[in-house]
Amino acid sequence: MSWIDLAVLALLGTGLAFYGAGSLGLLRFPDTASRLHALTKADNLGLGLVALAAALHWGSLAVAAKIALVWLFAVIAAGITSQLLARQARLDGTRSHPDGDRP
């Protein structure tokens, strides 16, 4: 097992840990805002580390660029969606009845 392989394993493990933490956070945290927090962590860091591991393992620049693109897209999409969802959560919060009612 070479140094690169070890690095790949380390990155993979850390990435998976972030994923797991994000999922557990989403499951366990008490309120919407902190759950959103958990979500963005997992999105950006977990996927980033896993993607880095995959790129290292592949060892090809073209593929690494593509993997970087996947990560970039995911980060941008996560940023947008968390903005939208935060706004939505605030709108919901200002109403007296959070869900399921209609004017």
Binding site: F73, I76, I80, L84, R87, Q88, L91, G100, R102
Partner: protein, 324 residues
């Protein structure tokens, strides 16, 4: 290890499908349906069928999901929350028995057939003549181009069928506005759209180009384009066109028309849908590039639905022109 992956994935697929079907809240059902579609995409990756995985993730999960979300929102605005009324216990017991028996029979039939890639042997020797590497594209655009031709007309026909549902007095109007109702959210979605639309266009072009040799193709690419267009409509970056706009009609018709004309031109080389020697790849690429534009436009309009007088905002929904 691979077997563990396969089995866990299949269990997850079954679980998400069950929840998507039987959860009470319609929004949760759709969310689970999308997750189900994405997991199915993984199943296709697990089967090394990347072409199908792309189609499933893009069309089965993506476009169908957005479609259902918007349909549910419209129903909700009308006071229909799409939860299911309980049916009688007898019906459920009877259906359970019938479906259970059916599954057992089907499973027995499935197990009696050994999995094999039998037609691969027939396809591989024919590929060099086409000048492309992707065998699925070969099947779609050469060996069974006729199916694909008819299929592109099914897609167009579905849009015509959706148009035919427009109530009296709104033709040729616009579909209901997709724009975000809330101002700040609209701005966020708008800036996202201005980023996504060009990206989607580049990516779709890449998918068509790559589709000759590696997984990709017109349908997957068209879906990516449709995704970009839908986000743009939600963010207000583009307005929805009038249904009788000549440019729109040309965009919708272009792909099927080019496909049909190339097919008919084949008559000069020996028969319908015969590609001239050496030009097979060029013919297929022309079909795919025109098809992907039409598919993108068609899918985007299919998602937006028929022209409508919104009950919530009479008249405004159909005629308001969205601005940038």
């Amino acid at each position: 290890m691979t077997a563990a992956f396969d089995i866990i994935l299949c269990l997850l697929i079954l679980g998400t499908a069950g929840i998507a079907l039987f959860v009470r809240d319609a929004l949760a059902a759709i969310a689970f349906f999308i997750a189900f579609g994405n997991l199915l995409g993984l199943a296709w990756l697990g089967l090394d069928a990347v072409n199908v995985a792309l189609a499933e993730i893009a069309l089965g999960a993506g476009v169908t999901g957005v479609l259902l979300i918007l349909a549910r929102a419209r129903l909700l605005a009308l006071g229909d929350d799409a939860t299911c009324a309980d049916t009688s216990a007898w019906l459920r017991v009877g259906a359970l028995a019938a479906c259970g028996g059916f599954v057992l029979l089907l499973a027995a039939a499935v197990l009696s057939i050994p999995p094999e890639s039998g037609l691969d042997r027939a396809i591989t020797p024919l590929m060099p003549a086409l000048g492309i590497e992707n065998r699925v594209t070969g099947v779609l655009l050469a060996f069974r181009a006729y199916d694909t031709l008819l299929e592109s007309f099914v897609l167009l026909g579905a849009l015509v069928a959706v148009w035919s549902l427009a109530p009296a007095g709104v033709w040729p109007g616009r579909p209901a506005d997709l724009g975000m109702a809330d101002g700040p959210m609209r701005r966020v979605a708008g800036s996202f759209a201005r980023f996504l639309l060009p990206v989607a266009l580049v990516m779709a072009t890449y998918l068509v180009w790559a589709g000759s040799d590696v997984p990709g193709g017109a349908f997957q690419a068209g879906t990516v384009l449709a995704g970009g267009l839908i986000v743009s409509a939600i963010g207000g970056a583009i307005g929805l066109p009038r249904s009788d706009l000549p440019g729109l009609r040309v965009a919708l018709v272009l792909g099927p028309l080019v496909f049909l004309l190339i097919g008919l031109a084949g008559t000069g080389f020996g028969g319908f849908l015969v590609y001239p020697e050496g030009l097979a790849k060029a013919a297929m690429l022309s079909i795919e590039y025109s098809l992907f534009l039409s598919i993108g436009a068609t899918l985007a309009l299919l998602v937006t639905g028929p022209n409508v007088i919104g009950l919530a905002d009479p008249a405004g929904g159909t005629e308001r022109k969205s601005d940038c």
